[in-house]
Amino acid sequence: MLGTLALAVALLLTACGGNQSSNATLVMASSGPWTQWQWNPWTTVFPGAAGGFIYLPLAVQDWPNLTSFTPMLASSWSVQGDKLLVKLQPNARWQNGQPVTSTDLIDTLYLYGADGAPVWADIASVSAAGQKEVALTLRKGVPMVLLENNLFNGIIPFPSSVWGKYVTPSLKADVIAYNNLAATDPNAAASSAANQGLAAVFQKVAKVAPSTPIGDGPYKLAGITTQEVRLIKWDGYYDAKSITIPQISFLGLAQPDVNAQLLSGRADFSSGWLYMPPTIVQRWNHTQDAHLLSVPGTFQAQVIFNDTQYPFTDTTVRQALAYAFPLQKMNQLAWGNISPHAVYPQIPDGLTPKVADQFLTQSQLSSLNTYSYDPSKADQLLTSAGFQKKNGEWYMPNGKQLTLALSIDAAWTDQVAALKVAASTLSSIGIQSTLTTVEDATYVQDLHSGNFQVATYCCAGGSPDPLTDFAASPMGSLENYTTYGNNKGQHGIGFGPTADVPGLGTVNVPETLDAEANGVGPGSQMKDLTWDWAKFVNQQVPYLQYTNFANQIAYSTSNFDWPKTSNQTWVNINSGNYAVILEQENGSLHPK
């Protein structure tokens, strides 16, 4: 009996020990839990740990610069006439021993074509210029920089030994035919035989279930469970000598669990959608060897108004509400002041500051309205719109009381706190407000169907391209009279769709934004258009930008040496996976 007990205890201790990470294992905690996984990049359950660690991207954007990239699998690239020539790392190999060649990249591009990848809107054709070189021919009228952005940001090559059999001559013909037609007539392209052919191939490809990934990155898969991907260094990587961390444990957890892992010392690093509430920030900052950065981010959250309901159809009322929302207080109470997850936008212009600073001048920015909290300004504007204040409550010109029903996705717990502050403040100045939280899976549909008065929208932006950011806002075609899917033609979210935009005149807002995002590259025209839309957002208040998210990056120097917090890498590299690889290659990240 005692012997059996001892054996059981030994077994458990062995298993416990097996699960503890050694000091040489970098534990990354990510707030993206997964239930299912598939080593198929054309499914929605492709593990987030794969990008960068198992599969190399061609290059990484030096955010927020639109024209600067750090090479990875693409060792270099050059422009020759209308061609972009991309050279692949000469010694890059797949984990099955085969070399990475131009065929891999070309096949991958065609498969991305079946997936609707934006890079095909930029190119007319693709061909091999050598064993390790690929030539992409630019479509007429498309700026080269847009191709670079879509190629380097969106494309990760996969091995032809796995995927090449799906790249048939008919797929190639369909990709070219569909995109040629889409460039001139998107509606005709959508109903074309070529598009049906692409859909058929995609459906076939989406059902492929490889048993294990065959990557070309510095790590290969050791194992995967519902909350951990275990990666081990692959010695066949072309720059393996620079990789000093032998193992990576990539955890996929709910956000509170990420913080718990960091605080308990189990995790060494977290970035991306890390959210540390102010109380956790305090605890983390008092933890030994703990560091926290708050890098200005790419996303923003907005308060949106139901554009089909009075009084939100009145610009003056929207402006009054912009003054009545205590933006600074909302941000401070929800996210705090120390290395916060989100910060107060000083100028609601529809852009995050890093993007705005690149494309707008200081004089332009200073001429925009800040909408600092000012109840008296709100009073003036409401009065000028015919509203009356009686016994401390506002009444509309039709005699009904002005009440606001605020809605928010229940899953955005941090923003719920901010909106609670808004509701109480608005009520205190005579605009009776209530806050309702709505289930995550229902929220988007509620917004599209117009089942709201005032709601929060998250998250717009995500790009260093200002026109893409405006197109991804509630004014863009995905939300504003959507053209596809269950919400086709609905106008719950959005603005217009026609409106008088400064500098552009009366235009169809979603269509114009789409055309500009897909057709205008960096330069004076992009700056002019950015200024037009910034003025429009600031003056017309189609939505109220109420917070700018920051990338909270937490790391511990207990087991690893990291780049200094002042290192530009933290700003430029927008992905934790890529940062871990590039910093090892730079020699600034290694085990102690």
């Binding site: 469970t225 549909q445 899917g485």
Partner: protein, 355 residues
């Protein structure tokens, strides 16, 4: 007897059909859909124009069924009758049957072990409490057990995670096994599975045993007061024989029935614990399918839960007549000479006779 069995089987089949039908339509009436879910995920990834998001959603959900719902229903029922529950919407490379087959062993293992552990401990504690019901310690124990049984098991899970995983790191925080072991018949994998299962099993068992203990205590106290026990005492039978044969077995009978019924509910009752521990069982798959509106996987889980509950009830119905033949022909029981009103509520002595 045969007509009794046929009636029960037909009723079970009808219940399954009705519940599956209702589930099918209710799932599709749920607000939200997988396209909206994916759309919001892609928007959060950023760097995509609305057209790009639309195209990706279209490419992925070109796989969505777009026939009228009634056609989908007929198709689903025809396929389900052949054991084909479709493919996951989020992962078209996986059939629902495959996903369920992968999740099923984890739930059966963790909930099954927890059920047995809590049952055995609960019966033992309940018996002791009944045997020594007048003692002060029993009163304290009853209060404690009542308190424990009233706590939701997910609260116990949170406390265990906080204490034993985060603070003291005795156990891993979640998963069914460590990522660095090879799944298969090897010692590290088995050890890892056991270690990862301890906290989920403890969460179920800590709460579960209280209920069993209270039920056992109630049942045993009731049996102790039965006429046939008093008669056995009067006949001079030994205390050991009375306790084991008359009291123990008769008190256990309703508990065994409840245990059989509990087996049917094991899949539906695992949602919270499996979610907190990222334990890849049926409850975990179900809650994630609901959140992402993966209709196929949701339906698969609902079918499994329904069928397991109905079949466990059916099995109890079929086994009970062997224990109590009166169930098959209640009319005969009523016409038995000397039968008293309310006699059917008495426990039948196993290994003894009604004196």
């Amino acid at each position: 007897m045969i007509s009794y069995i046929v009636r029960r089987v037909v009723m079970a089949a009808v219940i399954i059909y009705v519940v599956v039908t209702l589930s099918f339509f209710m799932v599709r009436l749920m607000p939200g859909n997988p396209m909206d879910y994916l759309e919001s995920q892609l928007e959060r990834q950023g760097n995509l124009t609305p057209q790009q998001v639309e195209e990706k959603v279209h490419a992925i959900y070109g796989l969505l069924p777009n026939e009228p719902v009634w056609k989908q229903y007929l198709q689903y029922m025809a396929q389900a009758a052949q054991g084909n529950l479709g493919t996951s919407l989020n992962d078209p490379g996986q059939t629902v049957v495959h996903i369920i087959a992968g999740a099923l062993p984890w739930t059966i293992f963790s909930v099954g072990v927890a059920l047995i552990v809590s049952f055995v401990i609960g019966i033992a504690v309940g018996t002791v409490m009944a045997a020594f019901q007048d003692r002060q310690l029993t009163k304290v124990a009853t209060l404690f057990v009542s308190f424990i049984s009233a706590i939701p098991n997910y609260l116990v899970a949170i406390v265990l995670i906080y204490l034993l995983a985060d603070t003291y790191r005795v156990f891993p925080t979640g998963g069914a096994y460590a990522a660095d072991v090879n799944p298969g018949a090897n010692l590290p994998f088995i050890g890892s599975v056991l270690v990862h299962a301890i906290m989920p099993i403890a969460s179920y068992s800590i709460v579960g045993f209280g209920g069993w203990a209270l039920q056992m205590k109630g049942s045993a106290v009731s049996t102790l007061g039965s006429e046939y026990v008093r008669a056995a005492e009067a006949r001079g039978l030994g205390a050991r024989r009375i306790t084991q044969t008359y009291v123990g077995r008769n008190s256990m009978l309703p508990q065994v029935t409840l245990l059989a019924l509990s087996l049917g509910f094991m899949f539906g009752g695992s949602v919270f614990i499996e979610t907190y521990f990222n334990y890849p069982g049926i409850g975990y798959q179900l809650i994630n399918a609901v959140n992402s509106r993966d209709y196929s996987v949701m339906m698969g889980c609902f079918v499994l839960i329904t069928v397991s509950v109905v079949i466990s009830n059916l099995l109890v119905d079929l086994v009970y007549p062997l224990v109590d033949p009166r169930i098959v022909s209640p009319a005969g029981r009523r016409s038995r000479p000397g039968a008293r009103a309310g006699a059917e509520e008495q426990n039948v002595p196993v290994g003894g006779t009604v004196a």
